[in-house]
């Protein structure tokens, strides 16, 4: 069953086409890594898929009514914005907004989901602290917890692990893997190809104004593509510890 299907998607900013003719589907139980150089249009692609900006082509998510879409897909933007000094728990509880009626207050299930998300992101200790006083990495974890609390079949996250310490980078990717095991799916943009190879079930490579490759990590990241798209060389080996991927040098 596909959670989202996108076909011939294209976005123009003014006269410039950011990308065009992007077609892919995400089924249940996948962790899809969206990779590509700076300016390839990863953020734009995710926002277009959600219907947050004008686009050409079609996206099944964008076609839905906003309220229904919010129960199917959660979105974690790259900009880590927390405008007011509200508590960590309050921020995470915002993830329950799509599940509440206009005047309905959060109930037992909402609190349970929030507690689980806080626990998952190791934030239970700081649940009462003002979110604006946390460090950048901690705020990122709060916002990931917020997206997890939305409890949607699909999570779309824009560079969620940028700025996290190594332990939390790995544990966040493992959380995504756990979601996939539970039948949910994640579309996550990232720059760390090593983590992408280890933790994603599939990679989508965006660049040169189109979708260049879509498939299992080992097949997508061929030396020729790396050289052409990223201008780097890398070392890749499937070891006893799982796949290891280490970018080595700049080629140009």
């Amino acid at each position: 069953m596909s959670l989202v299907s996108v076909s011939d998607l294209g976005v123009r900013l003014g006269a410039r086409a950011v990308f065009s003719d992007v077609t892919f589907e995400i089924g249940a139980g996948e962790v899809v890594g969206l990779i590509g150089p700076n300016g390839a249009g990863k953020t734009t692609l995710m926002r277009a898929v959600l219907g947050l900006l004008p686009f050409e082509g079609s996206s099944s998510l964008a076609a839905m009514p906003a309220a229904e879409r919010a129960r199917l897909a959660a979105w974690m933007p790259q900009a880590r914005e927390i405008a007011w000094p509200v508590s960590v728990e309050t921020v995470v509880m915002l993830g329950r907004v799509p599940h509440l009626g206009t005047l309905q207050r959060p109930g037992g299930e909402d609190r349970a989901r929030v507690a689980a998300a806080l626990e998952r992101m190791e934030l239970s200790e700081m649940r009462a602290r003002p979110a604006t006083q946390l460090s950048g990495g901690e705020q990122a974890r709060v916002l990931i917890a917020r997206a997890l609390a939305q409890d949607t079949p699909l999570l779309i996250a824009d560079e969620p692990i940028a700025g996290l310490d190594p332990a939390h980078q790995i544990s966040t990717m493992q959380s995504f893997a756990a979601l996939a095991e539970a039948g949910k799916s994640v579309l996550v943009s990232m720059h760390d190809l090593g983590l992408a190879v280890r933790h994603c079930t599939r990679l989508v490579l965006l660049g040169e104004g189109r979708l260049i490759a879509d498939g299992p990590p080992g097949e997508v990241l061929t030396p020729a593509r790396l050289a052409r798209v990223f201008g780097i060389s890398a070392w890749y080996q499937v070891t006893e510890e799982g796949p290891v991927y280490q970018p080595l040098d700049v080629l140009r």
């Binding site: 229904e68 879409r69 914005e81």
Partner: protein, 326 residues
Amino acid sequence: MRLALPLLVVVAGLFMVSLLTGPAEIGVGRSLAALFAGGEDPVALVMREIRLPRALLAVMIGASLGLSGAAMQGYLRNPLAEPGLIGVSGSAALGAVLAIQTGLAATFALGLPLAALAGALGGVLLVMALAGPRGTSLTLILGGIAVSSLAGALTALVLNLSPNPFAASEIVFWMMGSLADRSMTHVWLALPLMVVGFGLLAGLGRGLDALTLGEDAAQAMGIDMGRLRLMLVIGTACVVGAGTAVAGAIGFVGLVVPHLLRPLVGAHPGRLLWASALGGAAMVLLADIAVRVILPERDLKLGVLTALVGAPLFLHLILRLRRERI
């Protein structure tokens, strides 16, 4: 809600004090009895025709300014935002000034407030046209600044070219904002618009909460940003337009009250709405009592007092904010 009850008590208490404050020395028991008793007794007339509308308008206008200030700050995610930002109060003032200058205000009693409402309507339509249907909060601010400065410039032009010094001084005094000598007619004129505005603004709570995480995230959580912005602009225009039409420009309330109350509601933008409505009512009641007590003979203007008290209070808040950020 632990905050609601104390705030309600404060507003009710100040409302009573406002009813009991005035140049006519009337005892507490006598004045309250006169308020409810019928008849043409002069005390009853003073209570019902002078003090009651004054106290009611203070509550209505204070709640309007507090509520719309909290909503505006929540929408723009900026603690320095205030209801006048979208140009409604400026354009309402322009309407009122034109009414005074042309003599419309003198020909019939509601000429001035109705002209001010027309000005507010013109201003809000212009802001919405400038901001566009798909615009962001930034286009709304820019549209508001454009309309505010245009209305300010036109008001200055009217004053500049005014051949009549009496009209000019009347304009200047009107613009300072006051609740003196208002009647129940003013209450009935402002009330329907304010009720509509309160309804629109009170419905923004959840959307403003979601906006804590930014426009993109809020939109992805199912919040219709276009609808939210329309409710905010029309709601603010209703309450601030009606308030300015009957009382002139009263500054700083919409800016300071949400600021003062924010820590008491855990910075929750939704909860801040009703808290600021009550807080604004309390602040305007208090200021309107103060203008009658401090200089009973000199007709101290309400807007002057709120600015005199509000500006230092605001400076204090900024200093506190600076200490916290370091």
